[in-house]
Symmetry: C2
């Protein structure tokens, strides 16, 4: 079976250039992938391709991917997430450096990528997450999954892993974007997790099979996480966490950035608080608030939780003052209530029966006393004299 | 010794009206306190004064205060904090209801109130503070005191008390504003604390000696806390905490409102996060950030904490890629480094000696290897072959 020349060309170009490769991508956009590959072989965009243009490993990479259950996903495929990745091109047009769309993606997964990211949010954070960060990431992953929102993240220890596990626990899809080959199994103790993610969602990478992880690759990869989510949530981040890089990228892509507040005594929340203080991120405290931020106006509004109700809720302020004056522990005459509360006598006389009806006052032999109201134990009163 | 008639008039008016008494205060502003007191005795502003206008306890209240080491502080006194309280009148002029300046203040303290609040910040929060809230309030009280900023707060358990104790521990002044008489000793377990506050700062109240606490009085009192601080910090607040009332009052007075982020899993941080989400408050994570928010531009800027330094900081991104490529655990030739990193060979040849000088690369028999750099243990290398 002869492989499609476009697919071969893109596999070759992914191997040749270290992303982001703005000049190469510009060449591909102009000339098409097949012609661009030819030009690169002849020495075009040397700065980005000279070091590796002799590496013609396209067939081998495709075969290796196939052997590992992976495949190449290209912009020509129907499941290419073109809409989400368009945000990169738009930002580049606005002059944001490094915002280069991927030439193609190595893909290992169980559902079409464009469907997976149709409703997705990036959940990122520190590798050295605290118990709090792990807990929140896991809860958010689970809660987003319950609302049929996919998680997009890396595959690091800490927040990334906890968010994925939350989504998997809820039986929903999740997406890991790697800074190494999809077959590399990094980090080591996440090999099984990556397998589970691929089975229930997808694992993708720009880097050809076998590419080892490197710090700059994680940073470059972050732009894909930011682009593939409708927004980015930073759960925990130290002062120099890579998650802050993802957050600022999402911000420059014009997507909502959210940060989870945490204890100011925790070094792992410093990055979140910096994002909040600088105005890059809005605070989010619940999954509903995340969904509201990325959602369509009017359809995904977070419910406003009411506070605890008190029996005195809704009372006129003057009636409330009358009620407070009854809390002396003694029975009072209306005159005494008037002086105590500073409320004129005629209004006290009107308020007392109203409070009695609400179960908030009782008339005893010694005079008027406060009661706890219909929502409390309405029979008990605060009248010491009774 | 005959008491000043102005002082007597104000003492009488404080006893007669339950604050805030906007019509009475308007009358005082128009007619002066002595004439206003006469008019009230004859039935003026009946809605606000009818219930108590017969209570002519001015002499007794002044004597009772004197016996408890307190006195009446009036707008005619040189230590009246007129500048701070002006914010109430300004807000009332803008149509904010309830923003009424006090007729006078019962004062028990050791330093002039105007000096005490010259540089002061309100630190407020939940009575049912968590260990985290207590810790932060105490640290903030201490840290503000170290920067010669006085704390203004209530006297409740939880955040109020912790903030005062922090300030006292640092040997600075602090101010408690009460919702009961300055002699009432409420809450009971804070009687000693209130005595310490009076000895090292001041305890003030609009309410005459002996006035019992009441919920509406705490809410009315909150406007004074908000007005007397240059800004308000909410350390912890439940969904219905009174501290939120102080925060929104400070906001309507046009003063900076700050909220301390906390764990989103804590019910005692819900109020703070609501204030952050609604945009009423800005997040603060340190005393320096509080001082910056209330301070004079340019003189009180919080120091920006640098993150931890890495030996690779400041490297050109391309040089950094070359450095990352050395992390294979094997010695590499410049050609191999070029392919690994995707950086053209000539630039690899320029970068390697640069990395060697920085202690980040070593040339061994097997080829080039990464080293940890001058800031780490520069002698160790990550070259498996050496």
């Amino acid at each position: 079976m002869k492989t499609d020349p476009v697919r071969l060309a893109r596999a070759y170009l992914l191997r040749v250039a270290e992303p982001p490769a703005p000049s190469l991508v510009a060449l591909i956009n102009e000339e098409g992938p097949v012609r661009a590959a030819e030009l690169v072989r002849r020495g075009a965009v040397a700065e980005e391709t000279a070091a590796r243009c002799h590496l013609d490993l396209a067939e081998q990479d495709l075969a290796r991917a196939d052997a590992r259950g992976a495949r190449l996903l290209t912009p020509e495929d129907p499941d290419w997430p073109g809409w989400q990745l368009l945000s990169l091109r738009a930002a580049r047009t606005r002059g944001v450096p490094g915002m280069v769309e991927p030439i193609a993606l190595w893909f290992k997964g169980s559902m079409p990528l464009n469907e997976l990211v149709d409703r997705a949010v990036a959940v990122v954070g520190a590798r050295a997450a605290t118990g709090y960060g792990d807990h929140v990431a896991n809860e958010f992953g689970f809660g987003l999954a319950e609302r049929q929102v996919a998680v997009v993240s890396g595959a690091a220890y800490g927040v990334d892993g906890a968010a994925h596990r939350g989504a998997l626990a809820a039986g929903w899809t999740t997406l890991a974007v790697l800074g190494c080959g999809v077959d590399v199994g990094y980090p080591v103790r996440h090999t099984d997790l990556l397998q589970r993610i691929a089975e229930h969602g997808a694992v993708v990478s720009e880097y050809p099979p076998g590419t080892p992880p490197a710090r700059h690759r994680f940073l470059v990869r972050n732009r894909l996480i930011a682009a593939l989510g409708a927004g980015t949530v930073v759960v925990e981040a130290g002062r120099r966490s890579g998650a802050r890089n993802t957050a600022s990228t999402a911000h420059s892509l014009g997507k909502p950035v959210m940060a989870v507040p945490g204890p100011i005594t925790s070094a792992m929340s410093v990055g979140c608080h910096d994002l909040l203080r600088s105005g890059v991120a809005a605070p989010v405290c619940s999954v509903d608030e995340v969904v509201e931020a990325i959602g369509r106006i009017g359809t995904d509004l977070a419910p406003r939780e009411p506070g605890p109700q008190r029996p005195t809720d809704g009372l006129d302020p003057v009636v409330l003052r009358v009620h407070e004056a009854l809390n002396t522990g003694l029975g009072l005459s209306p005159d005494q209530v008037s002086v105590e509360s500073g409320v004129p006598l005629d209004r006290v006389r009107a308020a007392l029966p109203q409070l009695e009806l609400a179960g908030l006052a009782v008339r005893k032999d010694t005079g008027w006393c406060a009661a706890l109201g219909r929502m409390g134990t309405s029979s008990s009163s605060r009248c010491g004299g009774a």
